[in-house]
Amino acid sequence: MTGVSLGGVGVITGWGYGVGAWPDDARRAAGDRAVVTAATPRLDGERFRRATRECLLGVAAVQASLEDAGITREVVAGTRTALLYVTAAAYGSSNRAFVEAGEPGSAGALHFPYTAPCAVPAEVTIEYGLRGTYVTLIGGAAVTLEALAWAGRLLAEGACERVLVLAVETFAECADLFARDRRLLQRPLTEAAACALLVAGNRRIDVGAAGQVSDLTARAARRVGETLACGPLLALALGRATGKDPWTVTGRWRGRTTALVEA
């Protein structure tokens, strides 16, 4: 097999866990809220006391994807599982906290490493023992499609046996900044974390330009809100939950719309 198969998808949004928590219309459900904030997952372990909110969301989304796939964490541990992480905005909260801490010494050595976007996948790799291919991509929904296509290529060339494509977006701490640039972002901004587990299968995927947003993607966005990099993964989850072809997803970022296409 030189293609991919969707083993499982885990989603957490400001509306709750799973597709079943989504409202029919995010804009109406959000009311006058510009940001729909995701609850911080409660995770056991001393290490998580200092991890940021976006790290905890990432770890919880991966767990949800494993549960959806019906596999244990022991299966993904080691060098044969790749992790591709995508975010457009999830570094913002920890960066802002560091900037606003002000003077040297007031923001300590523990805080600074968490300002890096790769702090989120780092916590995921540590939690699940992932030591395979590991890259963070920065950008919105179109970049997540690139990650999905890359996952397909990694599986096809035998570089790994499974790929976790993870996206996390948090907005609350920088809501005022996002409010200043409405060109890029729709409303409401809904915090989300989503993870797709891909394994070898028959669907060969790549990325190409798209004329319009797919129906599946539009329905997911209408129900959840703007989730930037998480958007395509939420659409995959919706397709899987409703029996639609989950691969008919598109992504839009910085004025470009792209789609998953047959390779």
Binding site: T79, T115, I138
Partner: protein, 395 residues
């Protein structure tokens, strides 16, 4: 099995390169600076540092790229300066829609984020505060319309970006890709490393027994990449294999066993279809911190085996500082130039090793030799490791 690929991907050509660094504002000056042991470390002048423990770094004092009236942020300015140098050496001869941009960065547009947070009036900085804004500024500067991607594997970003670019070319997503890495020095990162106490008050001494920390630098490095079969003219060399892997041990510190880096090297060699016996030169991450240099040395001993003492290993951070997202691309370019010019730059700052650092680190002066196949290793926050296998060409 680590390092075993079902399919061996085709090589990707590196056609040309362009840089801006603290030791030279173009490729020729960079290479000359490496061979002459130029020291780009100075007192930082562009932003306040008087309250920090360490106030020095590899700061570029004059950025020569056309700055569009000073409207460009520092990170984008660095990228565009490197792009101008690249374009002076090679044309982007392809359909603009088939030319992509893939760049790596540890900091992205963080200085713009800092400005946006502290200046509520600024609409422009709010938009530029996204980490991938400089990559899109570069695409706009080059007027290219293919895929634009930003990779962030901390200080290994410049290697991961070349790997992803090669993958996109093989997949047919673009015909040419301008790929590389960048990062600007800013108060944000200086404060962070100051808090970590990773910075030295003395000179950077990679692999030396007196090594006690790093200094940061800034820069940008770009290469023009194409499928090897599509290139008819001269090229600098080829990227034969690459890998980016994780340690899965700590958010900030590298795995003391180095097994993640070792796995990256194995994967990259496997993709290249080579074994470690083919490696004739190693460009190490070589930050000058006690832990990094010890780990890298141990990994290279294991990977190279009995040949370890006979393979030259260098670090170019002694004169540049640690240029973060730019570092791995600068080091990859250095590997290719070593083949082109028949010389390996020496490790500035290295004089005497110790029991933990006991390889041939090319001390004191450049080594006259012409390595064909090079290994470049990189590490970063978040347990990021990357390895590149490069083949240099004389012409």
């Amino acid at each position: 099995m680590p390092g075993v690929f079902r399919l061996r991907p085709e090589p990707v050509a590196i056609v040309a390169a362009g840089v801006v660094t603290p030791i030279g504002s173009d490729l020729d000056a960079f290479w000359t600076g490496l061979l002459t042991g130029a020291n780009g470390i100075s007192t930082i002048e562009r932003f306040p540092v008087s309250d920090l423990r360490v106030q020095r770094g590899g700061e570029i004092k004059k950025l020569t790229s056309s700055d569009e009236g000073g409207r460009r942020d520092r990170a984008s300015g660095l990228l565009c300066a490197a792009a101008d140098d690249l374009r002076a050496r090679s044309s982007l001869a392809a359909d603009r829609a088939r030319i992509g941009v893939v760049v790596g960065t540890a900091l992205g547009g963080v200085e713009s984020l800092e400005d946006a947070i502290t200046d509520e009036r600024s609409l422009r900085t709010a938009a530029a505060a996204f980490y991938d804004s400089p990559a899109h500024a570069l695409a706009s500067h080059l007027d290219v319309h293919g895929p634009v991607l930003t990779v962030s594997t901390a200080c290994a970003s410049g290697a991961s970006a070349l790997g992803l670019a090669a993958d996109l070319l093989r997949a047919g997503r673009a015909d040419l890709i301008v790929a590389g890495g960048y990062d600007g020095l800013c108060r944000f990162v200086m404060r962070g490393f100051d808090a970590l106490r990773s910075l030295t008050r003395e000179r950077i001494r990679p692999f030396d027994r007196r090594r006690n920390g790093l200094l940061l630098g800034e820069g940008a490095a770009l290469v023009l990449m194409a499928r090897d079969r599509d290139v008819t003219g001269p090229r600098l060399g080829r990227l034969l294999g690459h890998a980016s892997t994780s340690d899965a041990t700590h958010v900030a510190a590298p795995d003391p066993t180095g097994r993640g880096l070792e796995h990256a090297v194995e994967l990259a060699l496997g993709q290249a279809g080579l074994d470690a016996g083919a490696v004739e030169f190693v460009s190490a991450h070589g930050t000058g911190t006690p832990l990094n240099d010890r780990i890298e040395t141990a990994v290279l001993r294991r990977v190279l085996g009995r040949r370890a003492n006979g393979v030259p290993v260098n670090s170019i951070k002694g004169g540049l500082g640690h240029t973060m997202g730019a570092a791995a691309t600068l080091e990859a370019i250095m590997c290719l130039l070593a083949t082109r010019h028949g010389a390996i730059p020496h490790t500035l700052g290295f004089e005497n090793g110790d029991a933990d650092c006991d390889l041939d680190y090319v001390p004191l002066r450049p080594r006259v030799t012409r390595p064909r196949v090079s290994l470049s290793t990189s590490l970063g926050f978040g347990g990021c490791n990357a390895a590149l296998i490069l083949e240099g060409m004389v012409a």
